[in-house]
Amino acid sequence: MSVPRAHLGGSPMPEGAHAMMNGPVEVTLLTEGTYPYVHGGVSVWCDQLVQGMPDVRFHVLGITGSGREPQVWTLPPQVVSVSSAPLWGRTPGGAAPRGRALRRFLAGYERFLLSLLDADFEHHFADELYELAEFALTGGSLTAALRSEAALRSLQSLWSRPFLATHASRPTMQDALQATDLLEHALRPLAVQPPSRGVAHAVTGGLAVLPGLTARRFHGVPLLLSEHGIYLRERYLSYRTAPYRWPVKALILGFFRLLATEGYRGADLITPCNRYNRRWEERGGCDPARIRTIYNGVDPELFPYAGPEPERPTLSWAGRIDPIKDLETLIRAFALVRTELPDAGMRLFGGVPAGGEAYRAQLDRLTAELGVAGSVTFEGRIDTVRHAYAAGSVVMLSSISEGFPFSLIEAMACGRATVSTDVGGVREAVGDTGLVVPPRDPEAMARAALGLLREPARRAALGSAARERVLDQFTLERTVATFRSLYRALLEQPAAARVRSMEPTLVGCGG
């Protein structure tokens, strides 16, 4: 607050400000916990995008945990810089403001808190968020200010007011400490210098959007937001079992919800990877004219026809061994298949992520309990994923939550029939070239798998239709070309990118 506002030129995005195209397009990818520090999922998508555009200068700004995560991707030369904004790490230094500066800070902070806690004040959220960003970017220590006793007292006296919903849950000082702690870490990305030119491309919702919003606000950089899963939805689910009392949950989830809203409001274009996600985005207040579905794509040359099926009737699965993949349902479904087809087998391909050992052990117990330990094999991480699809007569997907799963379109490209759960963009991906069953329903999944295992001709027909569908709609080339044109369009004239008619049309996706 010590530096006048004009310093940052705090005006909203001037249309076409950085439009002139001298030299290559510059794009800053904003990631959280993914590229280039983690394998799989969104990272694969980022890598495809980067590899596919050697003509674009990429910067990567990753929100990380400790800030000491090693890079696990080999970066091509078009990635000219990588920086990270650690959420935990060492506590940033600096002193809290004092005297008048402190009082000014607290007044703004209280309005910010009120916007999180009271629906009538939600519209103040964005302004107060940018005030906090300005404070952090002009030399103030947001961390020190939020950790001060005065900020804590502000929160405690605010959320104990009788007219707020938190009042009834009787917030304690411990709640105030925990909520402040969570909020302080969540706001650390505000202190990162945001990109000042090119396009800011947030590859996930949530905290990665923060530098994108400040870039847009303070430097007029157009913001593109690609959502694979719905960040907010996943935060709601995670915090259901969090070790916090109600007021803490209310505050931090209020923050995530309003951050999502501001992202949807502030982004020049939102590109979900399936139409299913649009529901959340539109509910979150996003203008449908600025939403454009862009499906993930695969390189058909990397995933050619898989060739003959294995002799033994086999179900195969590929992915991370993670609770979100709901492998329990898959194993239970397989146990039901085995009662009808005693010689059937199942092969699960994929590594156990750090911290996932307990889940793996739980699956081992389940297979033993169901008496299928001998016919379910955990194959571990595999370098050539297409072999995983080739290993099955039918490829399975049992996830409880998905965006637009690579494993599914890859299996389809390999010409395999699939059985998958009706989540996220699965129905859009599969269309009528595979079977889709309700999630968490082993009987339905077993029925579908059995049906396919017993009818080789149907399997073959579905498999070739699936490959045709991928070649037609979900090629990597198409995805990359779409993003390249969007980058240019955003730089030249942001408004032009928002064209409703650009929505892809899909046949036979039943949605």
Binding site: I230, L237, W246, E402
Partner: protein, 472 residues
């Protein structure tokens, strides 16, 4: 699937909550009798604890209910519409998370054990009397007092700083660094203590003789005990102390005379302590190292701890070196009371742990903190007084009179300062105790120094520790 980082290190939230129990009617294909009722049964628990209708919608989706199923089973357009209805119609409920057990539930026995290993080394003095025999020091104090006191003060201060530094490393998971720090630090401390004794002896201008050897042994022992205490090997230290303690006690109660032939017991204890320390350090070497790019903890951060150690040593010795003789009772009482003192510090933190979870305003919390502080201090002074009376009768044969008031004031200073130091106000605590110690050196009475320091410390502690952020 977006990858999501949790906001705090170590916080692991499951992205997939357990499935909700399904009411029996949901499985059939027939429409339930009352869809609204069934939805309320299935998702009512979630809706009651939810913070927004979106949370209910997320739970509905995550339970595998698609919009088609919502339309078929519940007659609503989609998950959002169903969620909004459920959220509006369900009264809010605030389920409490699993209570977090207080991390300060240390057993009293562990603290008593520590008190014992603080006090038992004192028995080395009766045992070592033959070594320490000689002409009186200046001021009529026993032979070698200056050298012994100087070496003790230096070692005490040094090892306090060293222990803090090693704890900082251990706190960062840097066992290797802690090992290195302790090994080098303990050796340097032993040299420092010996050198200090030599200088003090030379300045006192008396014949040193065996006093220097005793001081060297004492310094080496203190280094070893610092290592063992930091690494939590109190019982090993107690074992090492056994020979000297048993011998010293036997001399003290008059079972055996203090003869030079008993001195090997001291050597035995020293060698045992050194051996155990070496063993403890070796077991550290297999541990992990701190992150390479973590900066080395600043020496300045350990300075107040060393300064505080020095001040404490001076204040304690100050009560012992009164006039021309050494007063044993107050020093022994203070040293023994350090065990219960530690346990009472934990007690304070236990009560604070509870107060944070019950106080609804910062003012209410501040009062709870003051109350808790008074309770801890009162208990400590009670224990100290009891110890002093019992020791006075057994050791000196007469109860403590006026001295008791001075001792209790000093005790109040020590305990409050320890509390402040434990809660991160090391500079504050050192800054108040160091002038008090200097005043003692200058000859101001124990009661005056203790009274003034205790009063200042209490006021400061009530103010500082009433702040919630101190207990973060």
């Amino acid at each position: 699937m977006s990858a999501t980082l949790e906001l705090l290190p170590g916080l692991r939230l499951s992205p997939l909550p357990p499935p909700l129990p399904r009411p029996a009617t949901a499985s059939g294909n027939a429409l339930p009798d009352d869809p609204a009722h069934e939805a309320a049964v299935r998702f009512g628990g979630i809706a009651a604890a939810a913070v927004h209708p979106f949370e209910v919608a997320a739970a509905i989706e995550a339970d595998g209910v698609t919009d088609r199923q919502v339309q078929r089973d519940y007659g609503r357009l989609d998950a959002f519409e169903l969620a909004e209805e459920l959220y509006a119609e369900t009264p809010r409920d605030y389920p409490e998370p699993e209570p977090v057990p207080s991390p300060w539930n240390a057993p009293l026995s562990a603290s008593l054990l520590r008190g014992l290993v603080y006090a038992l080394p004192g028995l080395a003095f009766p045992l070592g009397r033959p070594i320490l025999a000689g002409p009186a020091d200046r001021g009529g104090l026993p032979h070698g007092t200056f050298a012994l006191a100087t070496s003790l003060l230096l070692c005490w201060a040094w090892n306090q700083g060293l222990a803090h530094r090693a704890h900082v490393w251990l706190g960062r998971g840097g066992q290797l660094s802690a090992e290195r720090c302790l090994r080098r630090g303990a050796m340097a401390g032993a040299l420092l203590g010996t050198f200090g004794a030599l200088v003090a002896g030379l300045l006192a201008g008396r014949h040193m003789g065996d006093v220097l050897i005793f001081c060297a042994g004492q310094s080496a022992y203190m280094g070893a005990s610092c290592v063992l205490l930091v690494l939590g090997r109190e019982s090993a230290l107690l074992g090492a102390l056994a020979p000297a303690a048993v011998g010293g006690a036997a001399v003290l109660v008059g079972l055996v005379p203090a003869i030079p032939e008993l001195s090997p017991l001291l050597l035995c204890t020293l060698l045992l302590a050194l051996g155990q320390a070496a063993r403890a350090l070796r077991s550290c070497r297999g541990g992990s190292d701190a992150e390479v790019d973590d900066p080395v903890p600043g020496l300045l951060g350990s300075l107040p701890h060393a300064l505080f150690g020095l001040a404490m040593a001076l204040l304690t010795l100050g009560t012992a070196l009164r006039g021309s003789h050494v007063e044993v009772v107050p020093t022994v009482a203070l040293t023994l009371s350090m065990g219960p003192a530690e346990w009472l510090l934990y007690g304070y933190r236990r009560r604070i742990h509870h107060a944070l979870r019950t106080a609804a305003s910062s003012r209410a919390f501040a009062w709870r903190s003051v109350h808790s502080l008074m309770l801890g201090l009162g208990s400590y002074l009670g224990i100290l007084a009891a110890l002093a009376v019992v020791l006075g009768v057994t050791l000196a044969g007469l109860p403590m009179g006026q001295q008791l008031a001075g001792l209790l004031l000093l005790g109040a200073t020590v305990w409050t300062a320890l509390l402040l130091q434990a809660l991160g106000s090391a500079w504050l605590s050192a800054g108040i105790c160091a002038p008090a110690a200097a005043a003692t050196l200058a000859g101001v009475g124990v009661a005056t120094v203790g009274g003034a320091a205790a009063a200042v410390l209490l006021v400061v502690a009530c103010g500082t520790l009433g702040r919630v952020t101190v207990h973060r």
